[in-house]
Subunit: 151 residues, 2 copies
DNA sequence: GCATACTAATTAGCTTCCTATCTTTTTGCA
DNA sequence: TGCAAAAAGATAGGAAGCTAATTAGTATGC
């Protein structure tokens, strides 16, 4: 009956598949450093928000507290991150990158940048801008809806 | 130095966050039926490809065989799916939806459609079309790269 | 000033994704 | 024809996400 494709459904399916496949590819590309896409994200954001607490970092990453706890456990074991007690609030921990992490930060950045480049190179800049704007709009809508808590 | 934002990085971050948050929202919306976003996807595609084998269905869904095995285990336990031996190939199973699944299929479809509607309603149709095209391009590029196996 | 409510981090346990490996069956080719 | 390679499904085990509940500390309100 409907020859017209349901754009919204096509969009959501493509979204799910692309995000899974890309994550998978990044996991492979970070593997030789003993890292993964998720752990790399933690290190990157920590390099931009030195001394953040776990809650703050989780918020930036868009993940929940307990998810970050496990990622940090792994990174701490690998010697890339340390949890220091906070002076102002004894419940909280200040997160810091170690020297070891700093040393390989640039290498990690270039792996991530290369991955983006090779996957996105054929996408026209205008289209990418539009797609990014659409995703940002959806993200803020989902966040608002999540806070309103009626879904 | 670069006042211009790195569009590629912004895109990939938004992609990851949106797909996670949306999945989470759908999981909530399907919960009262005892389902999840992942299980719903299996039922939907199965309704479109009756008698598919597991490998065929996994390919359509963009997931790996073992992931589908567990999803089917759950759906079979719930009485929504049955695995029938294939006449042509004794290794393979033909998947079929049960009457119970058929009965709530329309309800599930409308939950999914409503979810898309409420999240996407403010997005201009043209932008959504562009974003969908971009995602489809990326998906096919990732698939090609995955097959070439060098990355 | 103390009880109550909130907040930071953790733990426990579930789901959904993955890879690697195994078993059974089919296919292909020498 | 028969044997090696490939393919379908399952199993085992790990990673990364989630919620719910626990513990410890901070803030609030009467």
């Amino acid at each position: 009956m409907t020859a017209a494709p349901d754009m919204a459904e096509t969009f959501t399916r493509a979204l799910a598949i692309v995000s899974r496949q890309w994550k998978r590819r990044l996991d492979v590309q970070f593997r030789h450093l003993g890292l993964s896409q998720a752990r790399w994200g933690v290190i990157l954001e920590l390099s931009r928000h030195e001394d953040a607490t776990q809650i703050e970092l989780a918020r930036v990453l868009g993940i929940e507290g307990p998810t970050l706890v496990r990622l940090l456990d792994g990174l701490e074991r690998m010697g890339f991150v340390e949890r220091h007690p906070s002076a102002e609030d004894r419940r909280a921990k200040k997160l810091v990158l170690t020297e070891a992490a700093m040393r390989i930060l640039e290498r990690m950045k270039s792996i991530a940048a290369n991955s983006r480049l090779e996957v996105l190179e054929d996408i026209p800049a205008d289209d990418l801008r539009t797609a990014t704007r659409v995703l940002a709009q959806i993200a803020s809508r989902l966040e608002k809806m999540g806070n309103d808590e009626n879904g």
